[in-house]
């Protein structure tokens, strides 16, 4: 349940949208808003090629003034009141008993849907006008107020589980940041809050377990930062469904970050740096995969750099230089779709799949 799963354009969604939009009459602001939302949805759903044909016959009804007038009515859906109800609902959801949860989850999803509509109408307007529409101050402040109420409580939305993921999974991966209230933490399971409570109870019973929990938090934080670096909020392009590390390495672009010293040291001068982070970097030199650690390895790990599969297969890296481990890329373990690179560092453990590496 994360954004690494295979995504493809959903023809049923596109056809439903086209059918709905064909029936929209642009004589009222509601009609204009429905059209904008439809265009925003189609663009996000990866159906840009269908959008131009829908816009062309309606172009006369879609002046900037008309669009901005219609958008100003979106404030009338009263995002601020919705946010307050949502805030109460999310708090109730955290403490709800199991049988109450589905009803509260669907109600919360329905309320947040109003914010989705704003985002998609704005995207639709931008697609039609070619520039972002001009918004009045009241509109922007209503949107900001909604986001300000939701952001600190959005962790409570973990209880929505697959419903939460459904609210963003329809969109092409590189468009999901527009629905960031759904995307953030969307991979967390529905029982996340229960797990937090269990962790709290565990620490109360075993205070000495806090150190382990702190290590886990540090490792998860690091891993999250690697998978979702700050610049990833505006992804660079369509994400392919990469099935194995080997596939990914074959497609990996040549990085311009490769240092001159390392370049000189690389045999044949053909070393490509694939990924560079504060804690490590990954390069390819011929048939070798090279992992350089920038922080010390964990003293407890006999093999600090490994390639593992979800089964029992493991391949330990060979320390070829100080803090530098190598693997033969021709090894079959790299073709396993579940293979991942595991780095056991003094600061925590990092696991990297092909999908993680793409960013």
């Amino acid at each position: 349940m994360d954004d690494r799963m295979k995504w493809q354009v959903d023809d049923v969604l596109v056809q439903n949208l086209q059918e709905t939009m064909a029936a929209v009459e642009m004589t009222t602001p509601d009609g204009v808003l429905a059209f904008l939302e439809g265009i925003g949805t189609l663009v996000s759903a990866g159906a840009e090629s269908d959008v131009a044909a829908l816009i062309a016959p309606r172009r006369g009804d879609l002046s900037a003034e008309r669009i901005e007038d219609a958008l100003s009515l979106l404030a009338a859906i009263d995002l601020e009141d919705t946010a307050l109800e949502l805030g109460r609902l999310l708090i109730a959801l955290t403490d709800a008993e199991e049988e109450e949860c589905p009803a509260l989850c669907h109600r919360a999803a329905s309320l947040i849907g109003r914010r989705d509509r704003v985002a998609l109408c704005l995207l639709g307007a931008e697609e039609i006008l070619g520039v972002a529409p001009t918004l009045d101050v009241e509109f922007e402040s209503a949107v900001d107020a909604f986001d300000a109420v939701l952001a600190p409580k959005s962790w409570r939305m973990a209880a929505l589980g697959e419903l939460r993921w459904a609210k963003v999974a329809w969109a092409r991966p590189d468009h999901r940041h527009r629905l960031r209230w759904w995307q953030r933490g969307a991979h967390l399971p529905a029982n996340t809050v229960d797990a937090l409570r269990t962790a709290a109870e565990c620490i109360a019973a075993f205070p000495e377990a806090r150190e382990y929990l702190d290590e886990q938090i540090a490792a998860a934080t690091l891993s999250h930062r690697l998978i979702h670096p700050p610049e990833a909020s505006a992804p660079a392009g369509v994400v392919d469904n990469v099935v194995s590390l080997a596939d990914w390495f074959r497609r990996a672009p040549v990085s311009m970050e490769l240092g001159a010293a390392r370049m000189a040291a690389a045999a044949g001068g053909d070393e490509r740096r694939i990924l560079h982070r504060a804690e490590f970097s990954i390069s390819i030199a011929g048939d070798r995969l090279i992992v350089d650690l920038e922080v010390p390895p964990s003293p407890d790990a006999p093999h600090p750099v490994l390639v593992e599969t979800s089964g029992t297969e493991r391949l330990a890296g060979v320390e070829e230089n100080p803090d530098s481990w190598g693997f033969p890329l021709s090894h079959p373990i790299f073709t396993d779709p579940t293979s991942r690179i595991t780095l056991c560092l003094a600061t925590g453990t990092i696991a990297l799949t092909a999908a993680d590496l793409r960013r």
């Binding site: 799963m5 995504w7 049923v12 969604l13 709905t20 859906i77 669907h106 109600r107 459904a166 999974a169």
Partner: protein
């Protein structure tokens, strides 16, 4: 209450019915939150106006159109039920339905409100019926998916007047159990809410959890 005859994922026709919530406690919590509204507050309350306008949805038994009078009436009757904390609330107090475990109180509240609860559930049933009757070329106007936590199918239906019903169907069963029923903002355009449903169902398709629901030939019970 009959809903409709449908084919789920291309299987044999199933005559869907619905007559109750998943639990009595959930039924009471919803009735007193959404219809009677002694468990919720909103900016409309001071004027005694029901933001979900249930009086227009439930003609019988007649609902007081003033929320203030509706609450007063509910408090009066609930106060006669031993063990129901909602009946002990003061005139201006609002509180959530207290998740009571008093079986006798639950049974008494159930009996006291049976006609209203039945009418409430009938509105939800009608919403699901509408969504099948008004099927498009790609199936019923519902979101239907298999929740990760269970083996059944969850249905979400919404009709143009804003009533939304969520119901669960156990694997291999035909009787839907109501999970929730409320009215979303009447100010929102139905086309917008339909597009939202299409996106959500698409999200379930992308996860491999979506369920296809088609009306069985001649199966809709108008």
């Amino acid at each position: 209450m009959n809903i409709a005859s449908v084919r789920i994922d291309g299987g044999q026709p199933v005559e869907l019915t619905m007559r109750e919530f998943t639990s009595i406690r959930l039924a009471h919590a919803h009735l007193f939150k959404h219809v009677v509204r002694i468990c919720d507050v909103s900016r409309f309350d001071a004027a005694g106006r029901d933001p979900e306008d249930w009086a227009s949805l439930i003609p019988s038994p007649p609902l007081e159109s003033s929320l203030l009078k509706r609450r007063e009436q509910a408090r009066r009757t609930l106060s006669q039920v031993d063990g129901c904390a909602l009946g002990q609330l003061g005139e201006t107090q609002l509180a959530p339905c207290l998740r009571c475990d008093d079986r006798s109180a639950k049974v008494n509240v159930q009996q006291q409100n049976a006609p209203l609860l039945d009418a409430y559930i009938a509105v939800a049933a009608e919403t699901l019926r509408w969504s099948v009757k008004n099927s498009g070329p790609r199936g019923a106007r519902v979101i239907a998916y298999r929740p990760a936590s269970g083996r059944g199918v969850r249905f979400i239906a919404e009709r143009p007047d804003g009533v939304r019903a969520v119901a669960d169907l156990a694997a291999g069963g035909a009787e839907l159990k109501l999970v929730s029923c409320y009215r979303v903002g009447k100010d929102m355009d139905y086309r917008s809410r339909w597009m939202e449903m299409c996106r959500e169902q698409s999200g379930f398709r992308q996860q491999g959890l979506a369920v296809d629901v088609q009306p069985a030939a001649g199966g809709a019970h108008g």
